[in-house]
């Protein structure tokens, strides 16, 4: 059996890096990208491209690099994303361009560029959406809206480009990454804030990047052959509970 070939966007750190590491363990040939330079500890077989997915030419370049390095493409994981913590009234044109550029246009750019080779070989797309695309987090208007776009695009690709291509989205909850640490650091009492956050999760802990990588691995596998157009939540039970959690008052 030929090795599978995957593109993972935003693979330098956090969830993206965990996805890269997991796919490498799954014997997938991986190419990953971000706007920064290659992380020093990235495993050597992984191909690195410096690219801004919001830029059409850059996005096409990532797909070309995958095809020239490995001759084919089997999996696209759209993980690259940015968040800006502002409500609509405070959001600038530059904020719009940045969030919508990476989170919406970037996913569109990568899907459009990758669909021809994915269609040829029969492939899988996994987009990283968010629970915030279903219910709102306060003060994150453009981010919330951009993730709802990802969910909608996921369903559209599934119905337009199946059966050759399967397309699904993962909606992570609170995953312990640099992004989450930034949020806790802003709290009056970071330790109390972290404890409060943990207690809101029926699973009794926050998520870790590997929780998301596990589902990417499964969605990319033949076990998920009938899973298509779905937005799957991995949040430790957070959104199964009411936003009101009177036990914590």
């Amino acid at each position: 059996m030929m090795d599978r070939v995957a593109i993972v966007t935003g693979g330098s750190r956090g969830i993206g890096r965990a996805i890269v590491d997991r796919l490498v363990r799954d014997d997938v040939r991986v190419i990953t990208c971000s706007r920064s330079s290659r992380p020093r500890d990235l495993p050597s077989p992984v191909v690195w491209v410096r690219a801004n997915v919001a830029d059409t030419t850059d996005a096409e370049g990532v797909v070309s690099e995958a095809l020239s390095s490995f001759g084919r493409l089997s999996l696209l994981v759209n993980n690259a994303g940015v968040q800006i913590e502002k409500p609509v009234a405070d959001s600038t044109d530059a904020d719009w361009d940045r969030v919508i550029g990476v989170n919406c246009r970037g996913v569109f750019n990568m899907c459009r560029a990758a669909l021809p080779p994915l269609t040829d070989a029969g492939g899988v797309i996994v987009n990283i959406g968010s629970i915030s695309g279903v219910q709102a987090d306060p003060g994150m208007a453009l981010y919330n809206a951009s993730k709802a776009f990802v969910h909608g695009l996921t369903r559209s690709i599934a119905i337009d480009h199946g059966p050759a291509v399967r397309c699904n989205a993962i909606c992570p909850g609170w995953i312990v990454t640099g992004m989450a640490d930034d949020a806790f650091a802003l709290a009056k009492d970071p330790d109390a804030a972290r404890l409060d956050a943990v207690r809101r999760h029926p699973s009794g802990r926050l998520g870790v990047p590997a929780d998301i990588a596990n589902l990417v691995s499964w969605l990319a596998s033949e076990d998920a052959a009938f899973v298509n157009g779905a937005c799957l939540t991995v949040d430790g039970g957070l959104t199964a509970a009411s936003p009101l959690n009177p036990g914590l008052f």
């Binding site: 629970i131 915030s132 219910q135 709102a136 987090d137 306060p138 909850g173 609170w174 949020a183 806790f184 802003l186 709290a187 009056k188 109390a192 804030a193 409060d196 956050a197 809101r200 957070l238 959104t239 199964a240 509970a241 009411s242 936003p243 009101l244 959690n245 009177p246 036990g247 914590l248 008052f249």
Partner: protein, 276 residues
């Protein structure tokens, strides 16, 4: 009430189960002010309220109170027979009778479980089933009839320690869609309203019960904190719910069917709010 607007339920005959509860009472009052003939029905004349019974406003015709146990088929049959005899039809059925038990499944006895399911689910089934002939009469008479069930935002997501209640409301949601599909062709619309935290005796009981689990706070502090999680910074009132039920009962909602109408002050538009 608004004097400048024509009453939008003029001439409609309505049965409201749980009609002596916090929300049911507000619905009856609103229906009357909109010109409906209202039959409030409940298991006792005071229902879940301690207040004395209200009287019809001068100039409005009021149906009499009907003693109704929605879990007993004979009781449901005789309520419908009475309305059939007096009115020959039923335009609006509101299934507002409901109970909750504040327990996890570990603490819930089979008797608890059966009681919650009996009132919230079986009751909705029985009243709807036996109202169908009268609702069909109304649909033939005026083109449409309407059933409004009581779901809950708890039918979508869970509050802690309310397992049987959450399950019962999820069942009402599914039953609402099923009835809408089956009886839409007969001109019967079926919708559910799904309230969040509405200030009623049931909510007070939830706060006072074990399920709310306030961490060493007074009841007042707890209620204020919970209130402030709502984007609108207040609890719902029975009147808020009656406003929606009134619209769903009216011909303004002629194309609305099979839907679950969440009314929660924006509560479930948000992800759980961490205290940062």
């Amino acid at each position: 009430m608004c004097e400048t607007k024509a009453p939008i339920l003029a001439g409609k005959v309505a049965l409201v189960t749980g009609g002596r509860g916090g929300i049911g009472r507000a619905i009856c009052e609103r229906f009357r002010s909109e010109g409906a003939v209202v039959y409030p029905a409940d298991i006792t004349k005071s229902g879940s309220m301690n207040a004395s019974g209200e009287t019809a406003k001068p100039g409005t015709r009021d149906g009499p109170f009907i003693r109704l146990d929605v879990t007993a088929e004979d009781s449901v049959r005789s309520a419908m027979a009475r309305i059939g005899r007096d009115e020959s039809r039923l335009d609006v059925l509101v299934n507002a009778a409901g109970i909750e038990i504040e327990k996890t499944i570990d603490e819930t006895t089979l008797e608890d479980w059966n009681r919650v399911l009996a009132v919230n689910v079986t009751g909705t089934f029985l009243t709807s089933k036996h109202a169908l002939p009268l609702l069909r009469q109304a649909a033939r008479h005026s083109g449409s009839a309407s059933i409004i069930n009581f779901g809950s935002y708890d039918g979508f997501i869970a509050d802690p320690g309310l397992a049987a209640y959450c399950a019962s409301k999820g069942a009402v949601h599914a039953l609402t869609r099923a009835m809408a599909c089956d009886h839409g062709p007969e001109g019967i619309r079926v919708n559910a309203v799904c309230p969040g935290y509405v200030d009623t005796p049931m909510l007070q009981s939830f706060f006072a019960g074990d399920g709310s689990g306030g961490a060493g706070q007074t009841l007042g502090e707890l209620q204020t904190a919970v209130r402030d999680v709502h984007p609108l910074r207040r609890y719902g009132t029975p009147k808020d719910v009656a406003n929606l039920v009134n619209w769903l009962a009216s011909d303004e909602a002629a194309y609305a069917s099979g839907q679950l109408w969440v009314l929660d002050g924006g509560l479930t538009a948000q992800v759980q709010q961490m205290r940062l």
